[in-house]
């Protein structure tokens, strides 16, 4: 056997040096007494020639050297606080050479770290490790966990994590994270640890459905904040950690195809984008241009049913280390072209005057057809100048294109144009909308990590982040008709037939919108680590400065039907025959209420210290954040506010205690203070006067930022590799929470609503029984806020504002995720059946006292499975919403809305090595 090997080696050396790659050196490093696997240990392989190759162990303590020429070597293992271990080894050709190394703890200097911990956090087991070793309370899901899940984007992955639900944006995919019952405004989103800009024209948050899950190394949700973290998260911080350069060569390619059932059951409504002008008339021809009817295209309002091509997803990842492992590079691209749809019912409600309760005023159906194309490109390079200095450059570029048609049919039951007399009658208005948006988000980060001395560490980062959204020519055509009864015998109680008027051309609106959000951030931290009498002390101080500019620009045109000779508006037959006049030929570019320019400068500094003994970790510190922000708008109302500047500084203490009951158990207690800044557009004193219901909408420049006191307690048990049991509870008191409210019953505006409290309990459990595992989480949340509602006293015939106690907007009471996992022997087959329960959720506030929109409890089931063969190949399937669960909204017992998405399926294969 040995001679055969030697012979083969000889042949290979002669034939091709490439084949030398078969000589690999693998191994494992553990603590010699506790047998704990040592992640991030430095391993050096030194040949006779003096040439060295270096690597770092994975979470499991594993290391790999590839392309090793057979021969004698010195293998050296180094780890923080451990004695260096060296061994003379012989690498045999053509086979895996495995070396187990056990390091002895060094008693003297526990904390003289001089290696960079590169944790291969691809594997789900590493998530447990990260959760266990974190200074704060976090939940982590790894790339492996994501890959095995039924989910294709970050939003879908998130909703399976403990304490997270998603806010639905009507018709599109679900996208904004609600952490611990707190709306997206109370959370922040990071990419590689740094806040991202938002492509939303009004808010701060990022739609997570544009982030392909294949680019993620892990998602980390921090539920408590350390002083070194940005302080504007009350619910939590969602950190999307992108793929890092691998230790070995990584090649992964994936492709899949899928279909959404709803588009098998009905046609996809398609419109042509060929004639869409990318820039508005004002932008093309200047602000003095007078728009002509012929300036507006027609084909994007011509809707045809078609069967779409299937959803397709393709991805490619390549990673390798060069220059003696000094330079690591990873490039990943993921392309998704999805087609999906929604069928909805959305009924409007007005208060019934005699009962002072909500009653239906309209019934409407909506049909959305959506094509969403996402492309995520990731570039990462790190360079180890030496083993004390490292530079990392990473760039994340996310592009998302959406083409959506919306057809809604609204029948008035009551209201200003008459209502329904018998079922089937009433004024019917039909809206046809076409929308295309292009979103781009780029995050470029250059960072450095430096070991200045045995105790002193320095890291810095410069970040450029930009997010843009362009929606050229959002077009909406509305036509209306009226259906009445004709009593055939002249008796109003007698038999009747229906009579329908023709469709009249009512109105067309065309809106060009684009926005831009740009950040420059600079971050620097200095830390001092030492060990005094076996007590590890880590003191860190640092700062951040961020300069943000952002704007939104919109130019809108209204097209009204030309009238016939008798002055009556024309009947609508089709878009190509419709004739219109441009109602506002100047456009709205100069004075659109949505247009604003804003800035925000955040200057933050912190100091924190960690004292670590065998049993206790005590962590404390303080952060200050100074915020200067402002905006300007153009208003044609003389004397109206056209700019606001705000300035505030917060001092945010944070304290954490971790009692390490044993090696597998943590008990954590923490307190921290955090803030939430108002959304940009909320501060703008825009006022939109309602033309129909006399309910106006306005911004509020006096809005204060929210400040919260947060208390957390969590018990953590880590029985094995991927296993966990967390039991936790939290309490939050939020000063000046921001919610939309109706002031005097007639003006809808964002306001500070006194003090809100939130408390909740969280449970996370993962356990394997041989091949079968169960993983799940359960969250219970109770929140209380007093909102301004319109209260009607029928006796006294008055309506006045009254405070109503209710949960916070977006809060779900009970959330549970339970997944059954099956992993076959040799880990070739993996299947996951994921069940999700989302309880009663306060979806939207209704203006009348005692009534709100609640999303009804719902259960979802999803299945994913994968099978690996021939070492590098995997086939997989992802099946979502198998139960065809619909989302229903009610105001008390009145059904006011329903969204039907139906199931979707995706089947694909993956090559990886």
């Amino acid at each position: 056997m040995k001679s055969i090997c030697l012979f083969l080696t000889a042949v290979m050396v002669i034939c091709s040096s490439q084949l030398l790659a078969q000589n690999t050196v693998t191994g494992n490093i553990v603590n010699n007494t506790t047998k704990e696997k040592l992640a991030g240990a430095f391993v050096t392989l030194k040949g006779k020639s003096g040439k060295e190759i270096k690597t770092v162990t994975t979470t499991g303590g594993d290391f790999v050297f590839e392309n090793v020429v057979a021969g004698n070597y010195t293998l050296k293992a180094e780890y923080v606080g451990y004695e260096i271990l060296t061994a003379q080894i012989t690498v045999a050709a053509g086979k895996q050479n495995y070396f187990a190394m056990a390091l002895a703890e060094k008693n003297a200097s526990l904390a003289t770290v001089n290696v960079f911990t590169v944790i291969n956090s691809d594997k789900e087991a590493s998530s447990r490790n990260a959760e266990k070793n974190a200074n704060n309370i976090i939940n982590v899901i790894s790339a492996q966990g994501i890959q095995r899940s039924p989910d294709i984007n970050a939003a879908n992955v998130l909703q399976r994590m403990s304490g997270v639900t998603l806010q639905k944006n009507s018709g599109a995919d679900e996208s904004y994270a609600i952490v611990r019952g707190l709306e997206p405004r109370y959370n922040n989103t990071l990419i590689n640890g740094v806040k991202v800009t938002s492509p939303d024209e009004k808010a701060r948050f990022v739609s997570l459905d544009i982030v392909p899950s294949d680019l993620l190394q892990k998602i980390e949700i921090s539920k408590t904040l350390l002083p070194e973290m940005e302080g504007d998260a009350i619910g939590g911080t969602v950190n999307l950690v992108m793929k890092d350069a691998p230790d070995t060569v990584l090649i992964r390619a994936t492709a899949s195809l899928g279909y959404s059932k709803i588009l098998l059951d009905r046609k996809y409504s398609y419109f042509s984008t060929n004639d869409i002008q990318q820039k508005s008339l004002n932008e093309r021809f200047g602000s003095s241009y007078v728009a002509q009817p012929g300036d507006f295209s027609r084909s994007n309002l011509d809707f045809k049913g078609k069967t779409p091509i299937p959803t397709g997803i393709a991805g490619l990842t390549y990673g390798k280390r060069f220059l003696n492992n000094k330079l690591g590079i990873i490039v990943a691209d993921n392309f998704q072209n999805q087609y999906y749809g929604t069928n909805s019912i959305l009924n409007s409600v007005v208060p019934d005057i005699y009962l002072a309760i909500p009653a239906l005023s309209d019934v409407s159906t909506r049909q959305f057809s959506t094509q969403q194309l996402n492309n995520g490109l990731l570039l990462h390079a790190d360079y180890n100048i030496n083993n004390r200095n490292k530079i990392i450059l990473s760039n994340v570029l996310l592009y998302s294109y959406l083409a959506q048609s919306r057809i809604s049919v609204d029948t008035a039951i009551k209201g200003g144009n008459g209502g329904r007399t018998v079922p089937g009658t009433g004024p019917v208005s039909t809206d046809y909308s076409s929308l295309t948006t292009h979103e781009l988000l780029e995050n470029l980060k250059l960072e450095g990590r430096h070991i200045l001395s045995q105790h002193l560490f320095f890291d810095w980062a410069g970040v450029f982040s930009v997010a843009t959204k362009r929606s050229p020519d959002r077009a909406d055509l509305s036509v209306n008709k009226k259906i009445d009864t004709v009593h055939t015998t002249g008796d109003v109680h007698g038999p009747y037939t229906f009579i329908t008027t023709p469709d009249y051309f009512d109105d067309i609106s065309r809106v060009w919108q684009h926005n831009n959000d740009k950040d420059y951030s600079a971050i620097a931290n200095l830390s001092y680590k030492t060990t005094i009498h076996k007590v590890f002390i880590d003191v860190k101080a640092g700062g951040l400065y961020r300069h943000k500019t952002r704007y939104n620009l919109q130019d809108a045109y209204d097209l009204k039907p030309t009238t016939n000779s008798n002055g009556v508006k024309q009947v609508f037959t089709n878009i190509y025959d419709a004739q219109w006049v441009v109602y506002n030929p100047a456009g709205t570019y100069d004075y659109d209420v949505n247009n604003y320019h804003a800035f925000e400068n955040v200057t933050a500094g912190f100091i924190q210290a960690k004292i670590q003994t065998k049993k206790f970790d005590v962590f404390g510190g303080i952060r200050t954040e100074k915020t200067e922000q402002g905006f300007t708008i153009n208003t044609f109302h003389p004397g109206a506010i056209n700019g606001v500047n705000k300035d505030y500084t917060d001092v945010l203490p944070s304290m954490m205690f971790n009692y390490k009951l044993n090696l597998k158990t943590n008990i954590r207690l923490s307190y921290f203070k955090s803030i939430s800044r108002p959304n940009y557009y909320e501060l703008v004193p825009y006022r939109i006067l309602s033309s129909s219901s006399a309910t106006d909408e306005q911004g509020n420049p006096n809005l204060k930022h929210s400040i919260a006191d947060n208390l957390d307690l969590r018990y953590e048990l880590y029985p094995g590799d991927e296993e966990q049991l967390f039991i936790g509870g939290f309490y939050k008191r939020i000063q000046d929470p921001i919610e939309l409210a109706y002031i005097d019953g007639t003006t809808y505006e964002p306001v500070n609503l006194g003090t809100a409290t939130v408390w909740g309990a969280e449970l996370v459990y993962t356990k394997y029984f041989g091949n079968i595992g169960i993983t799940g989480n359960y969250t219970y949340i109770y929140s209380k806020i007093y909102s301004i509602k319109s209260y009607t006293d029928l006796q006294a015939q008055t309506t006045y504002d009254k405070l109503q106690e209710r949960p916070m907007q977006g809060q779900t009471d009970n959330t549970a995720n339970v997944s059954l996992l099956y992993r076959g022997t040799h880990r070739r087959f993996f299947a996951q059946l994921a069940y999700q329960y989302i309880g009663n959720t306060l979806a939207r506030v209704y203006p009348i006292y005692g009534y709100d929109y609640y999303q009804q409890p719902q259960s979802f089931l999803a299945l994913s499975a994968e099978y690996s063969f021939k070492k590098h190949f995997t086939v997989f399937g992802k099946f979502n919403n198998i139960l065809n669960t619909a989302t229903t909204y009610k105001i008390n017992t009145l059904i006011v809305g329903q969204d039907v998405f139906k199931s979707n399926a995706l089947i694909g294969f993956r090559y990886s090595r």
């Binding site: 208060p351 005057i353 009512d506 004397g639 006399a694 007639t746």
Partner: protein, 404 residues
């Protein structure tokens, strides 16, 4: 001279006895003094922030938006002519006091003299609004942010007094008041306004007051529309709608969205009496969501000068039976015993002095109808006495009657 005086006295005494025998209530004629010109504004071009008085007989040209700050007053004396250029509008956060006279009305018009070519009076947060004997023409159209402009807009709980004025060839809503404004809208003429939408008098969210003796002719939408806020049912919009002459309204929006002579919806409450409604798409509509329990109506005259209106521009042609829409089928309003409801062409014809019988006409079309009642009109003497003896805007009671 002396004898003439004596005989006159004797004659007067006789008359006095005669008249006293059929005694008559007090009649009061209010004499409005000419407002003295405080802060007179020099004639010529004006724009920007302004306060003071447009003085009698002068012509002013508004070249860009005009704004009256809180606490300031913009007044105009009789006989003032104002020409508005560049689609400008007048913003009032203070007091608007336009007082013309029957002989010398005030005039506001655009230089282009086309519908929707200037912005009207945006009195959203005004302290008070008084418009008497003013001719306001060609208002409406979009504001710079694209929103439709009402010709006279008030959104504050202040007194709004609009009397004896003309609103002609405007677009969108003409008089729109909300947020608890207290209105006195008497003896105005609103005609040929609204392109394909817009009400003549649109009162919402807690407006109270009187709408009487107005003529509304050929409005795109509804003549008088009353609603309360959809989110705050109280205070209610409570309006007396009486003695208005509402003719040929509600056609231009098309059959899918007919306009009415008078409509009451969304918890509004009204007393609707003594109105004359002729050839409106729909007559008096009480929507199901109105305060139907407390809304009272009667003594209204409904007439159609043709049996059916045939819209030949639509294929297939639409034929709208006018008389079946006096109380539209989708509302809860029912004919009252005191109503005068025509059953055929010629039956209960109010007998306007002149009426061309045109049903649907374009925004800004010329008209020479005269809605005074001829002798023998069935509308005479049939009024609910609380509001007046006759029906319509032109009555035999000269103190109340529309003076146009």
């Amino acid at each position: 001279m002396k004898t003439r005086k004596l005989s006159f006295l004797l004659f007067a005494a006789g008359i006095t006895v005669l008249v006293a025998s059929c005694s008559k209530k007090d009649t009061t004629t209010v004499i409005t003094p000419t407002v003295p010109a405080s802060n007179p504004i020099a004639p010529g071009s004006i724009s920007g922030f302004v306060k003071g008085t447009f003085t009698t007989g002068n012509t002013y040209t508004i070249t860009a938006d005009l704004t009256v700050k809180p606490g300031d007053t913009l007044a105009a004396q009789q006989g003032v002519t104002v020409i508005v250029k560049n689609n400008a509008q007048v913003n009032i956060a203070g007091v608007l006091l336009l007082v013309g006279t029957a002989d010398q009305p005030i005039s506001f018009n655009s230089d282009s003299n086309t519908p929707g070519s200037w912005g009207g009076f945006q009195c959203d947060s005004a302290q008070s609004v008084t418009v008497k004997w003013v001719k306001i023409a060609n208002t409406g159209g979009p504001d710079p942010s694209g929103g439709p402009r009402k010709s006279l807009f008030v959104a504050a709980p202040v007194n709004v007094d609009i009397e004896d004025s003309w609103f002609t060839n405007g677009q969108d809503d003409i008089i729109r008041c909300q947020a608890g404004a207290r209105v006195t809208i008497l003896r105005n003429t609103i005609q040929c306004s609204g392109s394909t939408d817009g009400e003549a008098i649109n009162l919402k969210s807690g407006v109270v007051g009187d709408v009487g003796y107005n003529v509304v002719y050929s409005q795109a939408g509804t003549g008088v529309k009353l609603e309360t806020s959809s989110t705050a049912p109280f205070p209610q919009t409570v309006v007396n709608v009486f003695n208005n002459t509402l003719v040929s309204n509600g056609w231009r929006r098309g059959a899918a969205e007919p306009g009415r002579g008078v409509s009451v919806g969304l918890n509004a409450k009204a007393n609707i009496y003594n109105n004359v409604m002729v050839d409106n798409y729909q007559g008096l509509e009480l929507f199901t969501d109105a305060d139907t329990v407390n809304t009272k109506y009667g003594n209204n005259l409904f007439y159609a000068s043709i049996d059916n209106y045939s819209d030949t521009t639509v294929h297939p042609n639409i034929s709208i039976p006018l008389r079946s829409n006096f109380y539209p089928g989708d509302g809860v309003g029912k004919p009252q015993a005191s109503d005068l409801i025509s059953t055929a062409v010629g039956d209960k014809d109010p007998m306007f002095k002149s009426f061309d019988g045109k049903v649907a006409t374009p925004n800004g079309a010329a008209t020479s109808n005269d809605y005074h009642l001829q002798t023998g009109s069935p509308a005479i003497g049939k009024g609910n006495a609380t509001y007046g003896v006759d029906l319509g805007a032109y009555t035999s009671d000269a103190t109340k009657s529309n003076k146009h």
